[in-house]
Symmetry: C2
Subunit: 214 residues, 2 copies
Amino acid sequence: MTEKISIQTSASSKNDQIAAENRDFFKKNGLLALNLISSAGSGKTSLLEAMAKKYGKSLAVITGDIQMTYDADRITQAGSLAVQIETHGTCHLTAAMIQDKLKEMDLKDVKLLVIENIGNLVCPSTYDLGEKFKIALVSTAEGDEKPIKYPALFLRASVVMVTKIDLMPYVNFNLERVKSDCLKLNPNARLMTTSCKTGEGLDEWYGYLEGLMA
Amino acid sequence: MTEKISIQTSASSKNDQIAAENRDFFKKNGLLALNLISSAGSGKTSLLEAMAKKYGKSLAVITGDIQMTYDADRITQAGSLAVQIETHGTCHLTAAMIQDKLKEMDLKDVKLLVIENIGNLVCPSTYDLGEKFKIALVSTAEGDEKPIKYPALFLRASVVMVTKIDLMPYVNFNLERVKSDCLKLNPNARLMTTSCKTGEGLDEWYGYLEGLMA
């Protein structure tokens, strides 16, 4: 047991050290770097497609996938640089994976770098990748209990985006409950609602990002 | 590297050994045991609530959660025995966790035992818990690319249930694509569509279960 804990602590502090190096790299290169986390199917890639259409070559995406280049292809087709990390079964990205990938990317025109983490609410929550902040996505179709069930993520997410808001009339989703649960976990969290289908809420998100990049 | 592989292999074969013990236990006690896997928010607990209303005390559920008894409470209120395994951050259930939990359960009246795994499509896929078969749930709101993105699960799932079929008119979900992708991965998979909101498809599911239990 002691041995297991010490191995985990050592892996965690190694990750934090590389995350600090990544953070330094982002700062030196004038990059706003975000870590996008949600369950599979919450709309991460749809949001990134919309952002790629808006920001083109000033956006780059590192997308984590178990295998296949499906997500990266969608973002590339929408106009931004997208590279993929295939984790081959590992359920989260690590700072070292990001550091390796950055070496092969041409970031000359890039101002905004989004890391699309592996789609689950558990494993990616506690790995710092060097990002400015974490964004948690929750779709209205997933249910409104996500913040209380996965506090490790919602404690750490500076932005919580409720996606697929267009489905609200057809699902049982209490938006006020989600807002209240998120703010209990993180009183400084910024809450947004969006729909990539109707475009609702995207202007606010873009405004927020542009404020941070200014 | 060699050491890492040997530790993993040893953990995996230890899990398989305990899974075999669980399988033996289920057989001796006349229990049909299922392993329910999906992304967070695909409707696992809603399906189990519906099943609890139908099967009452002949159904028992072991629900895996990172923390909190939210899912177990919903199932208990609907009429079945539900116990919880809090994994405290671990992203999947193991055969040993199930074996420990079985010791404290009164299974006298139980014929059907459903293990509700932790909500993600990655980590739970490769852990045998001793179940008769794995069921994968995919909601129509999640997107139709799940089988090709998470083949490790869909290769192993004997039943694939497309949930929230009532949302089909409002989402971009190609059911035929999902069926075809699932059958490419596992030609023997049984595909079902359900809605816990309208009740569509639940009779087929219950019929299937009752055939297996007969």
